[in-house]
């Protein structure tokens, strides 16, 4: 097995008094797609937000490239090479499509390579080039999701976090977006996916973690896991 790019060790996360993550440990190896599956409220997004620096673990450590990164602010995590596609897409509605992408390469080292990376993102999502001068609020849901992914890629991350990218989209659009995720991963970018859709996740990932009530219930290679075990872990039976 390749060396772990991201190593989350025994973290606990609280929202004020609410204990959201319990002793969670995951490892994401370089160049893989790793999925975290779980029902609503299982703590998946909390885990992603903690890795991205939005939330802070009260115990445990998060290591990236062997360096401890918990305690960093979200904008510092970006500089380390972690980029997030947030839940609900979170466009900048009063900025055009191109401006949204440009904000994605705000960090200094990304600015220099802007034109090259922009070209690659337009190749990945041609619709974004067609609509580059429109306000992002005028895009359809699927197009906004593409823009959110493109925006997160602009800083040339080593690890990209996808939070519920299929939420509220038509099946055909979801299929298209997952093909792009595969393509992004084939370029060597490690991906950590959070998803409610079990089948979609199992198909896309090299490795899955199943969460329930803030704890990891099951982990393994999708093909090697029994459907029955997955179902039990998902529903906490």
């Amino acid at each position: 097995m390749t060396q772990a790019l991201l190593r989350v060790q025994k973290i606990d996360v609280f929202y004020h008094d609410f204990h959201a993550l319990w002793d969670v440990s995951i490892e994401v190896e370089e160049a893989l797609v790793v999925s975290i599956i779980g029902a609503n409220g299982a703590g998946k997004s909390t885990l992603l937000n903690t890795i991205a620096g939005v939330l802070r673990p009260s115990t445990g450590t998060i290591e990236f490239h062997g360096r401890k990164i918990n305690g960093l602010m979200p904008y510092q995590a970006v500089t380390e090479g972690i980029s997030m596609v947030p839940e609900g897409r979170r466009m900048f509605p009063r900025l055009t499509v191109l401006e949204n992408l440009e904000v994605g390469c705000y960090i200094r080292k990304a600015r220099k390579r802007k034109d090259e990376v922009l070209r690659r993102i337009y190749d990945l999502f041609p619709i974004l080039e067609e609509r580059k001068n429109q306000f992002s609020s005028t895009l359809s849901g699927g197009e906004q999701q593409m823009l959110a992914i493109g925006r997160a890629l602009m800083c040339e991350p080593k690890l990209i976090l996808f939070d519920e990218i299929s939420l509220g989209l038509a099946p055909l659009v979801i299929k298209n977006i997952y093909q792009r995720v595969k393509q992004i991963n084939s370029e060597g970018i490690t991906a950590l996916l959070v998803e409610q859709d079990i089948q979609r996740s199992l198909k896309a990932a090299h490795k899955v973690y199943i969460m329930q009530s803030g704890k990891i219930r099951l982990e393994g290679i999708p093909k090697e896991l029994a459907q029955e075990d997955i179902r039990k872990a998902y529903f906490g039976l």
Partner: protein, 291 residues
């Protein structure tokens, strides 16, 4: 009909020019309201602080007020940055009241500091253009200083708009104002961004202060008068666009001088506020609000 228009030409032209000055007074307040989502009650006092800074610079170097812009703008930008970074950022995200109170405290401190240093005497940034007029078409004498105010405002707003549309920093500020959390995920330190935005806003206050000082007399306690004007401009123009704010200023200036023309000079301020009231009644988001 035609003679009616000719008669109105004076108040209309003067109203528009005065409105340009109002626009530059309001623009900084509008920016902070839109970007940091904070009401900067000290904005008027920052404008007057700039007038006094210009006064000191003039006395020191024996130059005209417009030349003092070179020094006063960067000093005011720095003051704004420091105020936001070290003071106001600490109380952001803690509800509406704390930033309001800090800004209010700042306003009181600034007024009394100016009073202490400069005494309550009336001051003005005296320059030869303060008294010159240009005859237009034989029926109108245009005060040169109003024209300078108007042009100064337009230049400032055009420069600001280019900054917001063309630089990474400008786009980052707009992004942060759309969605602070998402902006942080793009690698933007929003606290610094807010300080830069405040620095820009106080930079516009520097321009406004110098133009105000050349046009009218000022005292340490004049700030709140301009705060009210800035409020008016923001309400009429609405949030979201620099030029919208500027047009808000024009409408307010026009309303004041037309009101004064028809109803007498005593009604100048009142007629401005009547327009304000009408806008708040029929389009509370402002006439040029976006998004």
């Amino acid at each position: 009909m035609l003679s009616f228009l000719v008669e109105l030409k004076g108040p209309i032209v003067n109203g528009l020019l005065l409105g340009g000055l109002y626009g530059i007074i309001g623009i900084g307040m509008s920016m902070i309201f839109g970007i940091v989502r904070m009401v900067n009650l000290a904005h008027g006092d920052l404008v007057i602080l700039a007038s006094y800074l210009s006064l000191v610079t003039m006395a020191f170097f024996h130059v005209s007020p417009l030349i003092t812009l070179i020094l006063v703008i960067p000093v005011m930008c720095l003051i704004g940055f420091v105020i936001q970074y070290y003071l106001l950022n600490r109380v952001l995200g803690k509800g509406m009241n704390p930033p309001l109170l800090v800004a209010f405290g700042l306003s009181i401190i600034l007024q009394n500091l100016l009073l202490l240093i400069f005494t309550p005497d009336a001051r003005a940034l005296l320059t030869s253009i303060s008294v010159q007029t240009i005859p237009v078409g034989g029926f109108l004498n245009l005060p040169v200083v109003y024209l300078v105010d108007f042009i100064g405002s337009i230049i400032t707003i055009v420069l600001l708009s280019r900054f917001f549309n063309r630089t990474y920093m400008g786009k980052a500020i707009r992004a942060a104002s759309d969605d602070e959390g998402a902006a942080q995920l793009m690698g933007i330190n929003t606290k610094t961004i807010y300080a830069v935005a405040m620095g820009l806003a106080t930079g516009t206050a520097a321009v406004a202060g110098i133009l105000v000082g050349m046009t009218f007399t000022f005292y340490p306690h004049t700030g709140p008068e301009y705060l009210i004007i800035a409020f008016g401009v923001v309400i009429v123009g609405g949030l979201g666009s620099l030029f919208g704010t500027f047009f808000g200023g024009l409408i307010l200036g026009l309303a004041q001088l037309l009101g004064a023309h028809f109803l007498g000079p005593g009604f100048q301020l009142l007629s401005g506020y009547v327009i304000l009231l009408l806008v708040m009644t029929f389009k509370p988001t402002g006439l040029f609000a976006k998004g």
